[in-house]
Symmetry: C2
Subunit: 305 residues, 2 copies
């Protein structure tokens, strides 16, 4: 069990330092991509598929735990299997904790305040829940506050969507005001302000309210880095979504802190890549996780020169 | 089981006509507000509480089914109880279908396209799932499309957040461009465009992609009504959140169609209101549902004069 009395931002930064890897591995267990060694013989029965998914997740966690500080299970791939899938999601959270990993629950929850309280209770409150959760701040502060209250009280964290990694992000997020400020920059200002609330900023100067900033938009990330000095950036988009390590480096400060880069498919489905084809699939995952961390470390070192 | 071969917008409008009530009842089973007759003796055991919540939901569904066309279970209050709560959520969906009710699943899901596919599979695809789902369109079209594909293929629906009912909605949604257009109006334009996609517009002229427009902002709703002619508005904010029936009427067209108003707490927890105190709690729910529908009907009639 993680120490949930300490500030989440401190816990995450300390864990990054301890592993020497500012990266996390996304647990997106799409059944149709599982290694043959796992999925063989499962057929179309959903509960059998789910057992295979659980086995896959456990082996991925074991493979990456020595090399990365955190994992990011994507709730959607578990919810696709209904209540049984949700049970597996919580099991994955507990397994990750047993292996000393921090957990960023990727669920992008959002609602009005009274309802957000219920989401915070289900996904964040308590030592057996995720250490932090992705949230969507379209509702403004009253939809975010219930999550922040849990963060302050229990050493948990939240990452608010600012600039998402997907191709159509700009349709909404590039909407701009008369001064040329875009919506995602306005969102960045709000998140920076909300993140200064009592109990959120840790001894290392970062807030437990971080920001999701897609690596697929490096110029935007570079400006956002200045705009949200206290936010840890959760950076999706590396690998399968097309961003390079150099693109990811834009989200870090000169001292090499301030962000954690996520890769999902390029690590957990590494067995599908030619260079790992000769390895047992969980060894492929381990090698891909190590290579991913090394790639990001090098890019940060290059960037800070 | 509902007929899921027909267009969702048509199914919803026909159901509204059949019941003569353009309203739905939100199923937000906050445990601490349950009637004493239900919660008595449950204590702090979560699984016992959950069984009480299930019993409460069934009785609410039975009480309101003769009077309203649809219910809107709020996923968060079920997720607060973990996987067991999610199982109960799906049970409530199936019960509602057995009672001839349409189900608007209130989960406000959102993510990049590949992940949104998994959410659509878990929450919308299949006759035993909700008939429609609330979604958050911050990602733009690629985060919405997987939901719309299920809508077109299976006669399901989605309601995208445009203007939320909560006090701080404007912090994000009032961000405005050089022409004075606000973000929620920009979102309305996008939703109106997305809603014209193949397979979504029904014989009655409305799209299966609707919009969430809070009743707490009637002036905004009146303008949005012009801006999104093909969208059915899902209108939260009546009752406990402070909006009146007249405020809700702003979301309807002159012919009395085009919106469905939701009330949650003011109906399902009616036993807490003085005027219903002498009734058994489920009779209070039934009376409150009838009074709610009557209130909205009258306001629409007034508004169209």
């Amino acid at each position: 069990m993680p120490d949930t009395t300490a500030n989440f931002a401190d816990r995450l930064l300390d864990a990054i330092d301890a592993k020497g890897s500012p990266v996390c591995v996304g647990i997106d267990p799409r059944y149709d991509r599982l290694p043959e060694a796992i999925s063989a013989g499962a057929g179309a029965d959903a509960s059998v598929q789910l057992a295979k998914i659980a086995e896959f997740c456990w082996q991925v966690l074991e493979a990456v735990a020595p090399h990365v500080p955190a994992v990011k299970p994507q709730s959607a791939y578990f919810e696709a299997y209904g209540a049984g899938g949700v049970e597996t999601y919580y099991q994955v959270v507990r397994w990750a904790h047993q292996l000393g990993l921090l957990v960023i629950g990727d669920a992008k929850r959002n609602d009005i305040g009274s309802t957000a309280e219920a989401y915070a209770a289900g996904h964040l409150a308590g030592a057996d829940k995720a250490d932090s959760l992705t949230v969507n701040a379209y509702f403004g502060i009253d939809g975010l506050k219930p999550f922040l209250d849990v963060c302050a009280a229990e050493g948990k964290g939240a990452f608010a969507l600012v600039r998402t990694s997907n191709p159509s992000a700009g349709q909404v997020q590039d909407f701009q005001n008369a001064d040329g400020k875009k919506l995602y920059e306005h969102m960045a200002d709000l998140v920076a302000g909300f993140g200064d609330a009592a109990g959120l900023v840790g001894r290392r100067g970062y807030s437990s309210l971080g920001a999701v900033v897609g690596a697929t938009w490096p110029d935007e990330a570079r400006r956002l880095r200045q705009q949200m000095p206290r936010q840890i950036f959760l950076v999706p988009g590396y690998g399968a979504q097309g961003a390079s390590a150099a693109d990811c480096a834009a989200s870090f400060n000169d001292d090499g802190t301030g962000a954690i880069v996520n890769a999902s498919r390029s690590v957990i489905f590494a067995h599908r890549q030619g260079q790992y084809a000769d390895l047992p699939w969980h060894k492929a995952v381990e090698q891909a996780a190590k290579a991913f961390a090394e790639d990001i470390r090098n890019a940060i070192r290059e960037g800070s020169r």
